[in-house]
């Protein structure tokens, strides 16, 4: 614990009794009440709390759905219709769960980009970052498995395309896909096992989140200035300063969530998922959920099967190496005049890929007289995505002259307050 942090002293008989047996209140007090937090954390630091909130929302609404859902190929679609039409408030719970997944991903993407911008992945937070990426990968798996459950056309064909990715592995590919399917094609056995795993994964995520926060609290938060906490003047106790800040921005975020749940529950759902799964007909345009579109665009940008799969895998695991790829001593992009631009280029590449993933394969971009097939734009964006990690991070730190960083975290804050 940092020096000067108040010590937990249970006042009542009962809390003293508990403290000497299972010091849970002490843990909460140390980690979430007096925990010293850099005083300059901004709005981008509130998404961690939002993620915890949405994990809880998904688990609560998910368990309610599980009470009515039937994971069998012939009944699944009808059971979801039953949830939406007959079960009391089923429409609400389902919409909270489906839209909750969307909000969860909005939050995780902002949280990840925040980490990239302020250099939170660098020493001593490598483990925090790696656990974060693992949580994201577990979320990807969970959301994919969940999307299969309503057993509509998109569910079925998403399951087919994604599981077929494993078929491209040399030698073991075919037996591996049949093992995943429990048959010769995606079918009822596939649905049932996906359901079991979809229910398990959120609890795996809970465990990873606990490790993530543990690792974070060992080294302390990074902050927008990207410099180390130098002493007490740089921090504030977590409660009430950051509990309130988190709660305030969470309430704004939840307003957006509620607006989607009540006014646009289907805005992000493909209409094709309103027809039951049909193994004989692929819908004209198949498309994953919005949060997977950039990866989908990468897959389509590569005209060779095995390479496409390798690129996809690379895109998922490249961020894991960021702590060792970035050669700059300065963490925050606030003081990295060049990296800043490359960072925004990275954001732009991800958004561009997302857009391309939402368009038909053969779409063409018309720029005045010239016309450019989108697949080429996708190839460039994919290259940039990889270059950001494997070229920009290692090289830029060696050639960039960073701006001077402040002496302490408190300094710029106090100067601003003095001026105001």
């Amino acid at each position: 614990m940092a020096d000067g942090q108040p010590i937990y002293r249970p006042k009542h008989g009962l809390t003293r009794w508990l403290d000497s047996r299972l010091p849970l209140p002490r843990l909460v007090y140390d980690q979430f009440v007096v925990y010293p937090t850099p005083r300059n954390l901004n709005i981008w630091y509130t998404f961690g709390a939002m993620l915890a909130f949405f994990l809880a929302v998904q688990i609560v609404t998910g368990i309610v759905l599980a009470m009515h859902y039937v994971a069998d190929g012939s009944l699944a679609f009808a059971s979801v219709q039953n949830i939406v039409r007959e079960v009391s408030y089923g429409w609400l719970i389902r919409s909270l769960h489906a839209t909750g997944a969307t909000m969860f991903f909005v939050a995780v993407y902002l949280h990840l980009f925040r980490g990239l911008y302020y250099g939170s992945y660098k020493a001593p937070r490598e483990i925090v970052w790696i656990l974060g990426v693992l949580i994201y990968l577990a979320m990807v798996a969970t959301a994919f498995l969940g999307y299969v459950l309503p057993w509509g056309q998109m569910s079925y064909w998403a399951a087919t395309v994604i599981t077929s990715l494993f078929g491209s592995l040399p030698l073991v590919g075919d037996s591996l896909t049949q093992w995943l399917w429990g048959g010769y094609a995606v079918g009822s056995p596939t649905l049932t096992r996906f359901y079991a795993l979809h229910t398990l994964m959120p609890f795996v995520i809970c465990a990873l989140v606990a490790l993530h926060i543990w690792a974070l609290h060992v080294v302390g938060n990074n902050n927008p200035a990207g410099i180390d906490v130098a002493g007490e003047q740089d921090t504030l106790p977590f409660h009430p300063y950051f509990t309130v800040k988190d709660a305030f921005f969470l309430s704004l975020f939840v307003i957006v969530y509620a607006a989607l749940v009540f006014y646009a529950p289907d805005a992000l759902v493909s209409p094709d998922n309103s027809s039951p799964a049909n193994p004989l007909v692929t819908p004209a345009e198949i498309q994953p959920e919005w949060y997977f579109l950039p990866y989908y665009a990468m897959l389509r940008a590569i005209p060779f099967k095995l390479l496409g799969v390798a690129v996809l895998l690379g895109a998922f695991i490249s961020p894991l190496f960021a702590p060792w790829l970035d050669s700059s001593k300065v963490r925050s992009c606030r003081y990295r005049p060049l990296m800043r631009w490359f960072f925004w280029g990275f954001v732009a590449a991800c958004l561009t890929l997302g857009y391309i993933g939402s368009q038909p394969v053969a779409a063409v971009l018309h720029l005045g007289v010239a016309s450019l097939p989108l697949v080429w734009v996708g190839r460039c964006a994919t290259l940039y995505f990889f270059a950001y990690f494997w070229l920009v991070m290692p090289i830029l730190g060696r050639i960039e002259v960073p701006d001077p960083t402040p002496e302490t975290i408190a300094q710029p804050v106090l100067i601003k307050e003095g001026a105001a």
Binding site: T160, G182, T282, A284, I286, R300, K305, G308
Partner: protein
């Protein structure tokens, strides 16, 4: 006397190694059923034969049946489609193997090896890229530029013999084991 650096193994050492080995072997034995339960069950493996009447298919049309959970395409090719398939040179193909379960594995992908009876092409309707069902091209509504099929998922194109002509798919559509029982009845599997 034994080397003093390496003391004689004791009874405890023996129990330690024996217990560890038993535990490791036991764990491996339990792990296999846990893995193997995911494989297709005997029921799924048993249902693999399909018989169907295909007399209703007109030239230039296809019928989609279901075999092993997959779409199975039976296409009655027009003379023009057969000619188009026969005019392709083997060198121009992405996948030069016939992928025909009724022929040896190294049979070349010439049209005669894809469709034993030229009029009837029987292929599994699963794109060899990532498993979508390709859309059939007809004279009225062409799909792609090779007259066979277009997979709308990621843009693979197939010719009138079901051979891949544009990636990302890397293999020709598979020809399943099948036989004609009469001129209009077919057995697959």
């Amino acid at each position: 006397m034994a080397d003093p650096e390496k003391p004689e193994p004791t009874r405890r050492d023996f129990l330690y190694v024996a217990t560890g080995t038993t535990g490791a072997v036991g764990t491996a034995c339990v792990a296999w059923p846990l893995v193997d339960q995911m494989n297709p069950s005997s029921g799924a493996r048993a249902d693999a034969v399909l018989e169907a009447d295909i007399s209703a298919v007109k030239p230039g049309q296809q019928q989609v049946l279901q075999w092993r959970g997959h779409p199975l395409i039976v296409r009655r090719r027009t003379p023009a489609e057969i000619a188009a398939a026969r005019n392709v040179r083997l060198e121009d193909l992405i996948d030069k193997l016939a992928r025909n379960a009724n022929l040896p594995e190294d049979a070349p992908a010439i049209d005669a090896n894809r469709a034993a009876i030229p009029e009837w092409l029987v292929v599994v309707g699963v794109c060899t890229h990532l498993g979508c069902t390709p859309a059939a091209s007809t004279a009225e509504a062409p799909q792609g530029s090779y007259g066979g099929w277009l997979c709308r998922c990621h843009g693979s194109e197939f010719d009138t013999a079901g051979r891949v002509r544009t990636g990302p798919a890397a293999q020709n559509l598979f020809v399943p084991p099948y036989a004609f029982l009469s001129s209009t009845r077919i057995r697959v599997g």
